[in-house]
Subunit: 308 residues, 2 copies
């Protein structure tokens, strides 16, 4: 049983293979498959396998079809892929994916820099993407990037993020995810935004995606759970963030999130030792130290299942 104030279960999506790898120097498809299999061994139920985006813009995702084919041969996992355009959605569906994440930036500055479209234009494209995904019986998630802050436009007005959320759902999004793209939010702001979205959309299925860039990612994830979010993205090793770009930091580390959820008696389906092993694999395959403090320190020894 989970501790007071915690949900019984949290639905973790492992994003190391996409968000984790996309700004790294490309690693071989073989190395990705090795990491993918280590991640499958953690027991996680949802895995973001790759992104169907321009190989010129994101060379690390150039092997999307190959990775997807391998992934879809493994049962028991809900595999997803990120897309940034109707063409990407078509590619993902053709590759066999049935859970598609389409990213829309709530701020024009980031949207223009990322996909050369305004937020309005990106929202308008949901129609075509939803038709593509639903046409094959798939499921569409809209990830709202820069939901809290934009590196170009500053704080994103809450009304703007809520409006994107509302319109995404109206246009066919089956689920939504709030993305703290540049790792600037914090617990109080998380609660404010989640409550604002829920006050307009009602009890929508809401996920959240945090980076640990200001050290507050795990605390923000806890706040999101308090506010009713039940789906969280995380990345083994805290992968993501370029080691050569001062200031960048990765996603919240799956093993650190799991560490505190296990203590709280929250079910995730993940095994702590296997998750730490996957993080160690990621570090070995990438060839540089990852961000995760837990990976560095190791877990504590404790009787299994105890949450005193």
């Amino acid at each position: 049983m989970s501790a007071a104030g915690w949900p019984a279960a949290v639905d973790v999506r492992e994003v190391a293979l996409r968000d984790g790898l996309q700004i790294e120097q490309p690693i071989s498809t073989g190395a990705k498959i090795e990491l993918l299999e280590a991640i499958v061994a953690t027991g996680v139920r949802r895995i973001e396998a790759t992104a169907f985006v321009s190989p010129r813009a994101v060379p690390a995702m150039a092997d999307a079809e190959e990775v997807a084919t391998h992934a879809l041969g493994i049962d028991g996992v809900e595999w997803s892929a990120l897309v940034a355009s109707p063409g990407g959605a078509r590619r993902a569906v053709d590759a066999g994916l049935r859970t598609i994440e389409y990213v829309v930036s709530a701020a024009d500055g980031h949207s223009l820099a990322n996909v050369r479209r305004t937020t309005e234009e990106a929202v308008a494209a949901i129609d075509e993407i939803a038709a593509t995904v639903h046409g094959v019986g798939g499921r569409l998630e809209v990830i709202i990037a820069t939901a809290w802050d934009c590196p170009f436009d500053g704080p994103t007005p809450i009304a703007r993020t809520v409006s994107v959320a509302r319109r995404a759902r109206e246009r066919g999004a089956d689920q939504l995810c709030l993305g703290d793209t540049i790792g600037t939010t914090s617990p109080a702001r998380v609660i404010t935004l989640v409550e604002a979205v829920r006050s307009v959309l009602g009890p929508v299925d809401l996920g959240a995606h945090f980076h640990n860039t200001r050290g507050t990612g795990i605390a923000s994830a806890c706040a999101a759970l308090q506010a009713g979010v039940t789906r969280l993205d995380a990345s083994v090793g805290g992968l993501g963030g370029c080691p050569f770009a001062p200031g960048a930091s990765g996603n919240i580390a799956t093993e650190e999130l799991l560490y505190l959820l296990d203590d709280a008696g929250v079910d995730t389906g993940l095994d702590a030792a296997a998750t730490l092993a996957a993080a160690a694999s990621a570090q070995r395959l990438l060839g540089h130290p990852l961000e995760s403090n837990l990976l560095r320190a190791g877990g504590r020894s404790r009787p299994r299942g105890r949450a005193d």
Copy 2:
């Protein structure tokens, strides 16, 4: 006004000069004074200046008297020092300190390794220390080390930590602090222990001290505030933890804690820019990268006082 669920104010104690420096290679007293002054400039109201402990055991604290003399020449701050024995308390009081922290390990394993006394023996010494401190009109805090876990004995039974807390107060402790000495606790366990202490001791003035060794320190600090703790230790730059000892990590970083408290509208008296500057000073004076993600990334630009 603070956001819902947050206290109006949090009383931060800056511990970089003691817990932060004690396992570093000793730096000159001049460098310490420089850091001390950068910390004073943050606006923090309580600063742990040094420790009066064996200079053989902790060479980095050998200049305790000199640092204390300098500190006490600066008004507007409650200066404290850590001691581990009645002799240390006498030295601290003789140096002019009037807020004394006496550390008692709740686990015998850590207590014996740290001070060659069992927990019982360390508790018994509170009488003499309280007499020394109260004899000069001072204030005694008992810090309960290994309040959650001991590196030697494993998880500390809750009843054991609560018993130390109860007896410390009976023997004269004016305030108590729960120490996550090896950085293993997590939000759910924090709430459980704080509630257990409060259920036995009533509305006692309770502080907490977290390390970020498993990446969950800031989340644990938020949980402690939820549970009614209003005093938190933190260290600029996340100082603490030896860079040459794999696995060690420092205290929660003052600037990261402040970042989320500012967003929540919680008053601390600290200035964000000055705190980041103090963290940068610490990093320069120590000569190696510190743990703080925020120090690496920098804060976000935002209108002052806004917590949207």
